[in-house]
């Protein structure tokens, strides 16, 4: 009979590690209990077959069909770039391969714990990029860390790393918002902590730096919190994402405003940092391609308290809908300034507004606000309920979207390590070549050829003091025609 074993990780913010002594102790306990444990869950026949095919040594390459998408990001023809022209080359339709020698590296003979790295914003820092305090993302980072910690604890309670009967260990580094520091943190995780995979990232700039390092080092990287579309558009075969990105949220918001509400004069107001700059990219482009270009786009500095300059300019253009991209507290202050002028336009914004901060600051103005949202937390799912309950019990609060996706991302990595063993390239492979979607607490997570989560995204609408989550179908939001054929092989996208 299986005896549950628990290895609660040491609390801490800056650096959370099970110390070597605890690791050894845990290993000893696990080894002693091994006889009493149920056998490790057997691998599915598909996984066993996959393992054989990726066991190529230093020089071989798996002979496995690459995932292929016919349309990048399920973009409708009328919002594709240069829709009237066949491009010479399309990227991201065929899965990136890893062709290096990493699969031949043997598993280490002795390890006391199986380490997984976490890199996220968990402490405020001074940032050159923002000219002051970092991006105010610590609350999101801590939520992620809590959920990942929980996933690791649960895995250890199930017997840790099955092949050796040793516990998993989480190595935590702060995603310092000072540009460039995240690169050094990844190097620390990879070369000093010797982690097998890394999960984390919220800020697009920091995450870009980190994944460039991960590419060179050759280590799997999962993000549950960076929604920057360009994150996976770097063509790095080591990075994946388990949350719907801003491109998908942009498409849904634009379809809602343009195709359903029939708005004609969109205005954009956003934070001036990279999150704001890249967050609205597909809003701006899609509006233009639909023939209703943004009448004005204004930026503000994160944390700003007054928006007169931006709103005075916007007023001149008489918009009939306002898109916003920035942090939740910023969204609330912008919204309050807009409503204080008596403006009634729909206010469409990003998922970060679905937060206590936003509701508190916006007060009654929050009513009617529409946010893009990467999942539906109201979904009825026993797995989700169990996670919520466990999280609340562990931390005294309900998990937010970052926590839920981090929990899924951590479990994806744990599954990959249990399946592939202690080899970074093979851990990457089992995730990359998996054909079935992951069944997470946030729903199904199917990875595209670019290893991006292409699951459904939603709108969160504030109604009667509550967030209500609606799908495209629920709201009857029309969408443009998605042509399932590569552009270089089809007639021009503008073809009817």
């Amino acid at each position: 009979m299986k005896t549950p074993l628990r290895f609660p990780l040491l609390p801490g913010i800056v650096r959370l590690r099970v110390g070597a002594a605890l690791g050894l102790l845990a290993g000893a306990i696990l080894a002693a209990a091994a006889a009493d444990q149920a056998a490790a869950p057997a691998l599915s026949p598909e996984d066993q077959a996959l393992l054989k095919r990726i066991d190529t040594g230093y020089y071989g390459k798996p002979q496995i069909p690459l995932k292929t998408n016919l349309n990048y990001a399920s973009s409708s023809a009328d919002v594709e770039p240069y829709g009237g022209v066949k491009p010479y080359k399309e990227h991201f339709l065929v899965q990136m391969e890893y062709a290096g020698s990493g699969r031949g590296i043997p598993e280490p003979e002795r390890v006391d714990t199986v380490k997984i790295g976490f890199l996220g914003p968990i402490m405020p820092t001074v940032s050159v990029a923002t000219g002051g305090k970092s991006h105010n993302e610590e609350a999101l980072g801590i939520a992620m860390l809590q959920a990942i910690r929980m996933a690791i604890e649960e895995a250890n309670a199930r017997g840790g790393y099955h092949k050796r009967g040793i516990p998993f260990e989480l190595c935590v580094r702060n995603d310092n918002a000072l540009w460039g520091a995240s690169g050094s943190e990844v190097i620390h995780l990879a070369y000093k902590d010797n982690v097998w995979a890394i999960i984390g990232g919220i800020d697009g700039a920091n995450t870009h730096i980190a994944i460039r390092v991960a590419l060179k080092i050759e280590i799997p990287w999962m993000t549950p919190g960076d929604l920057d579309p360009t994150y996976i558009e770097t063509n790095i075969p080591w990075v994946m994402r388990c949350i719907g990105d801003d491109r998908q949220l942009n498409y849904l918001l634009v379809d809602y405003a343009m195709r359903k509400l029939d708005c004609k004069r969109p205005a954009i107001i956003r934070s001036s940092n990279r999150y704001g700059r890249f967050g609205v990219r597909e809003i701006r482009d899609s509006c233009r391609r639909l023939g209703r270009p943004s009448v004005i786009e204004m930026a503000y500095k994160g944390g700003a308290q007054a928006f007169d300059m931006q709103l005075d300019r916007i007023a001149e253009y008489k918009p009939d809908v306002i898109f916003h991209w920035g942090n939740g507290d910023d969204a609330a202050r912008v919204l309050n300034a807009i409503r204080a002028r008596g403006w009634k336009q729909p206010f469409l914004t990003c998922d970060r507004a679905v937060s206590d901060d936003f509701v508190k600051i916006a007060g009654p103005n929050a009513e009617g606000v529409i946010c893009g949202y990467p999942w539906n937390p109201d979904r009825q799912d026993p797995k989700l309920e169990a996670f919520r309950e466990g999280f609340k019990k562990r931390y005294g609060a309900l998990p937010d979207t970052y926590a839920a996706h981090a929990y899924d991302g951590a479990n994806m990595l744990l599954w990959a390590i249990q399946t592939a063993g202690l080899n970074r390239a093979k851990i990457r492979d089992v995730l990359a070549y998996r054909t079935e979607p992951f069944q997470g607490v946030t729903g199904q997570i199917p990875l595209s050829s670019a290893m991006d989560d292409v699951g459904e995204v939603f709108l969160a609408i504030r109604e009667k003091g509550k967030w209500i989550y609606r799908s495209r179908e629920d709201l009857g939001i029309p969408r443009g025609k998605v042509i399932e054929k590569p552009r270089v092989e089809r007639e021009q996208a503008s073809a009817k």
């Binding site: 491009p87 460039g180 050094s184 730096i209």
Partner: protein
């Protein structure tokens, strides 16, 4: 060290393809305008030969030796004695991961880019260490190093740094004083009064040493998911390398490669020429006509840009075999049995050493011996005669 078992020590190694060439020469003028040189004599250098690590990030030929930067140490390969001396952290190397090497031809100093460890100068057996805490280096994650006059340039993950070795002054280039849309520098090269930075998200930045002015080469279509036209400019905004020779700029990226002669751009993709893959870690140009690309699926050499003639080197490390495919545009002209060539197909760095070529790979260093090397193309009859 192992040499190609098929052609050990042959003076001009065209035997593998001399016979087919003779036949082809008689049959048709299709080989016209000639054929490129093919490296058929190779040796492989790995940990078995004394390298501290097989994961090679940098190779730099330097007179009697070749410097090799690995994931765990620095090595110096003596070309005469074939002996290797290596340095790890215990030997004074400031950090284990050596991603870039440049040699100052005037002083003989060896400059090392350390991945997460800053910059080091190796001179007279001593390592001087520069970091973001003790110098003007903008970031410790150094991807590439270049020497330009008295200056040492570093491409780091958060901008570029320029160190004046005479005045001890540092300059930092970021989005604040250079046209970097993003600051993620990936490569730097310096030659003929220009410094070129390959920047993820900012294409190629060209710095004119005299005027200190910048010029930017972006992807004209501005889109991540497509390249609209092949020859309209840089193929993508995420670039990994730039090499400028004879006023021709060659560019590598993870999305294909490009060449710019000052007037015309030409894009190269794996489906339309001999480029082994669109995923390219690095490149080095030998001339305005010849450049070598480090792809994840082999070493691709554009040997004659005018005719788009390529030679692509791949190997099978398990069988110790290898081949070179000669292509013009996307037509295969000839396949040459080279014996074991590059030790692994995942290429990370390349350098030239007279007629020879050195390739750093995911699993060791390859040394192509270029006896009888000639640039561009030669008429097949002349090649055959020379081979005989």
């Amino acid at each position: 060290m192992r040499t190609s078992p098929l052609f050990p020590g042959l003076p001009l190694l065209l035997m593998g393809w001399a016979a087919p060439l003779c036949a082809a020469d008689k049959a048709a003028p299709k080989l016209d305008p000639g054929l490129p040189y093919v490296y058929t004599q190779w040796e492989q250098i790995t940990t078995k030969d004394g390298l501290p690590n097989d994961h090679i990030f940098a190779v730099k030929a330097d007179k009697e030796c070749v410097w090799i930067g690995t994931e765990d140490g620095l090595a110096r390969y003596d070309k005469k004695t074939r002996k290797i001396r290596s340095w790890r952290e215990k030997d004074g190397l400031p950090w284990r991961v050596v991603t870039a090497i440049e040699v100052d031809a005037r002083t003989g100093d060896v400059w090392l880019g350390l991945f997460g460890g800053g910059l080091a100068r190796f001179s007279a057996g001593r390592f001087d260490h520069y970091t973001q805490l003790n110098s003007g280096l903008v970031n410790d994650v150094v991807y590439a190093v270049a020497i330009e006059g008295d200056h040492v340039w570093c491409a780091t993950t958060a901008g570029a740094s320029r160190y004046d070795t005479k005045t001890d002054k540092w300059d930092i280039f970021t989005e604040k004083n250079a046209p970097m849309e993003e600051i993620w520098n990936y490569n730097v090269s310096a030659r003929d009064g220009k410094v070129h930075l390959a920047v993820w998200g900012s294409g190629i930045l060209e710095f004119d040493v005299k005027t200190e002015n910048w010029k930017v080469y972006l992807d004209p279509d501005g889109e991540m998911e497509i390249d609209l036209y092949r020859d309209d400019g840089n193929v993508h905004v995420i670039t990994t390398g730039a090499s400028y020779v004879e006023k021709v700029l060659w560019v590598s990226s993870y999305f294909g490669c490009a060449r710019y002669d000052g007037r015309h751009w030409r894009g190269y993709f794996d489906h339309d020429c001999g480029l082994p893959s669109n995923f390219n870690n690095n490149l080095k140009a030998r001339s305005g006509q010849e450049a070598w690309f480090c792809s994840d699926k082999g070493l691709g050499a554009c040997m004659d840009a005018a005719t788009c003639t390529w030679v692509t080197y791949t190997s099978d490390g398990n069988k110790h075999s290898g081949k070179a495919v000669i292509k013009r545009e996307n037509e295969v002209i000839e396949v040459v049995d080279t014996g074991y060539s590059v030790p692994h197909n995942f290429q990370i760095s390349v350098d030239f050493d007279g007629n020879d070529v050195w390739a750093g790979t995911s699993k060791g260093v390859g040394h192509g011996i270029g006896q009888g090397y000639y640039p561009r193309l030669r008429a097949s009859g002349a090649i055959t005669a020379q081979a005989k």
